[in-house]
């Protein structure tokens, strides 16, 4: 028991460094999903038939294939076909990001569609173009409504990032595995890895909850 604790204590700085890698993957993937997911949602709600179809096909593909398959498909195949020679870290970030685009676009789509469309009409009646009305009136509200779904997506991406281990990325899981295989303290190390993931999930979800409260619109019922 004491041996295990000593191993964990000694390995902790190494594992915490791995948390930074994990955070890097998650921030990159969530960021890509946000930046691309919003225009994809706009295209799906307000775009023409071709755009809507394009987004729908993309979403179906990335929702329909396991993340492990996607990771192998891109890392060992498609990225090199595209002439990209990228590290395991970037491969994991991009693949999780591309899958995140599919999921996040649907979060934003739902939020946009739940808003009363009369506001868009009112904005256009004031002389705004449709794009400007979406940007100035629809998006600020849709993004607020998206925070709970986005927080859920964060917790999924964070934990799925552990799968980057299979490419040899030096994130939490692969570092825990590395130490465990050297010291034979599997239980202690995987508990520590699990605790780190749990802590990161908790912090992120709490943070987003605070953000949600902070940007909530006065007069609307605030759930507890």
């Amino acid at each position: 028991m004491l041996d295990s604790l000593i191993v964990v204590r000694d390995a902790l700085p190494y594992l915490l460094e791995g948390s930074l890698v994990t955070i890097g993957i998650v921030v990159g993937a969530m960021g890509l999903g946000l930046v691309a997911g919003v225009p994809m949602a706009m295209a799906q709600v307000y775009g023409n038939r071709a755009l809507r179809l394009l987004v729908a096909v993309y979403v179906w593909l990335f929702r329909g294939i396991p993340v492990l398959v996607l990771l192998f498909l891109f890392y060992f195949g498609l990225f090199s076909l595209m002439g990209l020679n990228i590290s395991a870290f970037w491969a994991a970030t991009l693949v999780l990001g591309m899958r995140g685009m599919a999921y996040q676009s649907q979060i934003f789509r739902g939020a946009m569609q739940s808003l009363p469309q009369g506001q868009l009409k009112a904005a256009m009646a004031l002389g705004m173009s449709e794009l400007k009305a979406i940007r100035v009136i629809i998006l600020p509200q849709a993004l607020r409504l998206s925070i709970p779904g986005w927080s859920n997506e964060y917790s999924i991406v964070l934990k799925d990032s552990a799968i980057a281990f299979v490419l040899g990325t030096s994130e939490i899981m692969s570092r825990a595995h590395f130490v465990a295989s050297r010291t034979y303290e599997q239980l202690a190390l995987y508990i520590t890895a699990g605790a780190l993931f749990f802590l990161l999930t908790w912090l992120g979800v709490r943070g987003l909850r605070v953000l949600e409260r902070k940007v909530s619109i006065p007069g609307y019922a605030q759930q507890i």
Binding site: G118, Q119, A122, A125, L126, G127, M128, P140, I217, G219
Partner: protein
């Protein structure tokens, strides 16, 4: 066309989902006019108003504003045209994430490119004019229906429209809140603001409108001065009279 014709709408038609919603509708508005659209629901009043400011593009027809024909195809021209025409909706359509002042100021800033400071100054003036100067920090969810509609009137007027379209502005309001909105609209007519208003408020139409346009099945089937159309001794039984009598029976309006 006479000199003071502000808006001329000719032969607007619109089909939606295989159904004819507007069928060859024409009308004219002179500066300072207050005309009222009356008629049963589904008769095309709302579609007509939205076609006039091109929120819905008519299938056929032409529109002139101030003697200039509006091209439906040029996007920039359509946007500039809409900016000149204020629109008041039945459901207010306030921007839920903005307080009363920002609801009024947002288009001044984003469309008219005014600075934040001057936009807010103008917004405050417009809110004061509809009696909501002290409510400018409140959000739509914190306002009553009547207050919301007054904010939406301030929002439209801040853009200095040459014409105001009102789509049943009091129909979504509790009876005791209708008065405050009607009195604001009355004050607009005293300021000589040109208005075309769809409404079921017969009394209001009778006392203030220069002309009643009665719409049914996508057409204007009767039109004229309220005194003529709603005259008790009108030898020709008018459809308008018939309809308004029924409305008055329901709402107990004396006119």
């Amino acid at each position: 066309m006479t000199d003071n014709t502000l808006l001329r709408v000719e032969s607007l038609s619109k089909d939606l989902g295989g159904k004819t919603i507007l069928n060859d509708v024409s009308l004219q508005m002179a500066t300072g006019d207050l005309k009222v659209l009356i008629g049963p629901s589904g008769g095309g009043k709302s579609t007509l108003l939205q076609c006039i400011n091109l929120l819905i593009f008519p299938d056929e027809g032409r529109i002139w504003l101030g003697g200039r024909e509006v091209s439906f195809r040029k996007k920039r021209e359509v946007l500039a045209f809409r900016q000149q025409i204020g629109m008041i909706f039945q459901d207010f359509n306030l921007f839920d994430h903005l307080n009363a002042m920002d609801n009024v100021a947002i288009a001044l800033r984003k469309v008219k490119r005014m600075s934040r400071l001057s936009a807010e100054k103008r917004a405050t003036e417009e809110l004061e004019r509809v009696g909501l100067g002290d409510k400018r920090g409140l959000y739509p969810a914190e306002l009553s229906g009547g207050q919301k509609q007054r904010v939406s009137i301030a929002r439209a007027l801040a853009m200095d429209p040459v014409l105001l379209l009102l789509d049943e502005p009091t129909s979504a309001l509790d009876p005791e809140l209708i008065g405050e909105v009607l009195s604001v609209i009355r004050s607009l007519s005293q300021r000589n603001i040109t208005m075309l208003m769809a409404t079921h408020q017969v009394g209001f139409a009778r006392t203030l409108a220069q002309e009643i346009l009665f719409m049914e099945h996508g057409r204007i089937i009767e039109q004229g001065h309220p005194m003529t159309l709603l005259a008790k001794d009108n030898p020709v039984a008018s459809r308008t009279m018939d309809f308004c009598t029924k409305l008055s029976e329901i709402y107990g309006e004396s006119g």
